[in-house]
């Protein structure tokens, strides 16, 4: 564990401290876990909107003549099918089909791609991209250190985003644009990690406090709340979104996560394609599966799952779902895969709680259609 003194803070740390945030250590960063309360913040995002500081995430530009070639080689999804101004959710795979990271790539031109990566994987991803770029004519430019990012999420986000970027309100879901905010070059995408409509704003460190404050002020009348990592986790798990490092990693493939649509096996080639094809042919031996508790209780990552009294897996992510008002979680079930509603038990503090498999996602928003 990193010592408190060595923790990195974002350019929003002071503002958040003054707003009453409670901080936690997250992969070497001191980040707000909550402001007014996880449940309140969660409900604000589902019903109105919330603002998250996600400055710890990484931003990498891939540019140059062979930029598309590098993006195509390192991504299971097919960037050639995305036009400038469109964002693509994708998995970067290793040769075994394992997920090096899950990323969002926004296309800004035939030679310009903007990749947002997970905080804990910045170094791994940049090294991986640079290694794969050998022999190609393109640059991998890691802008993470000088760049901050906020996520404005919820059905009211489209009413609020105009305060900092009027043209962003016209973006389609998974659309992106480059704009000058407060005179500085920024990227705004209609993306997020909550299962709701929303936007992510990437700005230089010096500008982000103004972006944050402006959104807080404009959002006030819409019920906007500043939100922490606590609500971010309950929102994303309800929405069936993966947390790299918990739910998926370099030893689990895209197919095993159930995100089959991400892997475009009809694409000419990409790293990991052969492994995925072989896995598909042989049949999966494990697959990420949702479960719900049938009795009140709070499952946690690491809790054991039992089927007919025998150990059937371990929870990767799990929490209390404020929307469903019950415990939810995901684990890797072994083949033959259980149908939804299959009776299970989850062991929490030495006691077994009744549970049942549940389809993913646990929650689907109406605001995203």
């Amino acid at each position: 564990m990193t010592s408190a003194a060595a923790l990195r803070t974002t350019p929003l740390h002071q503002i958040q401290k003054e707003a009453g945030a409670r901080f936690v250590d997250f992969h070497g960063w001191s980040l707000p876990v909550q402001f007014s309360g996880i449940i309140k913040e969660h409900q604000a995002v589902r019903g109105a909107c919330g603002l998250f500081d996600v400055s710890h995430m990484g931003q990498v530009w891939v540019t140059g003549k062979d930029a598309l070639a590098l993006v195509q080689k390192t991504n299971a999804n097919d960037a050639a099918k995305f036009k400038p101004g469109q964002s693509m959710y994708s998995h970067m795979l290793n040769e075994r089909g394992g997920v090096v990271d899950d990323v969002i790539v926004t296309v800004f031109g035939p030679e310009r791609f903007f990749v947002v990566v997970n905080a804990s994987n910045i170094e791994t991803d940049v090294a991986w991209l640079r290694r794969q770029a050998a022999g190609l004519d393109c640059a991998v430019d890691d802008q993470s250190a000088g760049t901050a990012m906020v996520a404005l999420q919820g059905p009211a986000a489209k009413e609020v985003i105009g305060a900092v970027c009027p043209e962003a309100a016209a973006l389609k879901r998974m659309g992106g644009l480059e704009a000058r905010l407060f005179g500085e070059p920024c990227v705004v995408t209609r993306t997020g990690y909550t299962g709701e409509d929303g936007f992510e704003v990437v700005a230089p460190n010096a500008v982000i406090p103004r972006v944050w404050q402006t959104l807080i002020v404009r959002g006030g009348s819409f019920g906007l709340l500043p939100c922490g990592l606590g609500a971010r986790d309950t929102l994303r798990l309800e929405a069936g979104l993966l947390l790299h490092g918990n739910d998926v990693d370099a030893d689990h493939t895209t197919l095993e996560t159930g995100y089959d649509w991400v892997a475009k096996l009809d694409k000419p080639d990409f790293i990991g394609k052969a492994a995925l094809q072989a896995q598909k042919k042989a049949g999966l031996t494990r697959r990420l599966t949702g479960l719900k508790l049938l009795e009140r209780g709070v499952p946690r990552p690491g809790c054991k799952v039992y089927a007919d009294g025998a150990e059937a897996g371990v929870l990767c992510s799990a929490t209390y779902s404020p929307t469903l008002e019950t415990g939810i979680g995901v684990y890797y079930a072994a083949a033959p895969f259980p149908p939804p509603g299959r009776a299970l038990e989850v062991e929490i503090h030495g006691r077994r709680f009744p549970a049942a498999t549940a389809p993913l996602p646990f929650y689907k928003s109406l605001s995203r259609s």
Binding site: I38, K40, G230, G297
Partner: protein, 128 residues
């Protein structure tokens, strides 16, 4: 509602109030704030004999589980039946409706040795 000054306190942030027949136990206002939104409470069953300092209950927030220790030795007389359906009462009313359980057969000397309100408040200042 037990008067704060008539309660005794532990360094693990429980309060105890001795009413006419039993010792009522809960978590302090400070503790409920630290725990955050309570979504589940696991309470000891009536009849269980507990030892001072033993982890006998669990209060869970969205983010984490917190052990609640027995401030005194004794026998569990009852646990708060309202908390199963309404665990958030621990946040709303930590020192009243959010009480956790009641103990009988407690030792007066053990109770007297716990912190007074003034001592607990002083402890909060030094622990912070």
């Amino acid at each position: 509602m037990p008067e704060p000054a008539k309660c005794r306190y532990t360094k693990t942030h429980e309060w105890v109030y001795l009413d006419a027949r039993s010792a009522v136990v809960g978590v302090t206002e400070h503790a409920q704030h630290e725990i955050g939104d309570v979504v589940f409470v696991d309470l000891p069953k009536a009849g269980r004999a507990v030892t001072q300092g033993e982890a006998v209950a669990v209060v869970e927030s969205v983010k984490a589980a917190f052990d609640i220790y027995a401030p005194l030795s004794g026998t569990v007389e009852a646990s708060n039946p309202a908390l199963a359906a309404d665990p958030a009462a621990v946040n709303r009313s930590a020192t009243d409706q959010g009480w956790l359980y009641k103990l009988t057969s407690v030792d007066a000397a053990q109770l007297a040795a716990l912190l007074t309100l003034a001592q607990y408040e002083e402890f909060l200042k030094t622990a912070a």
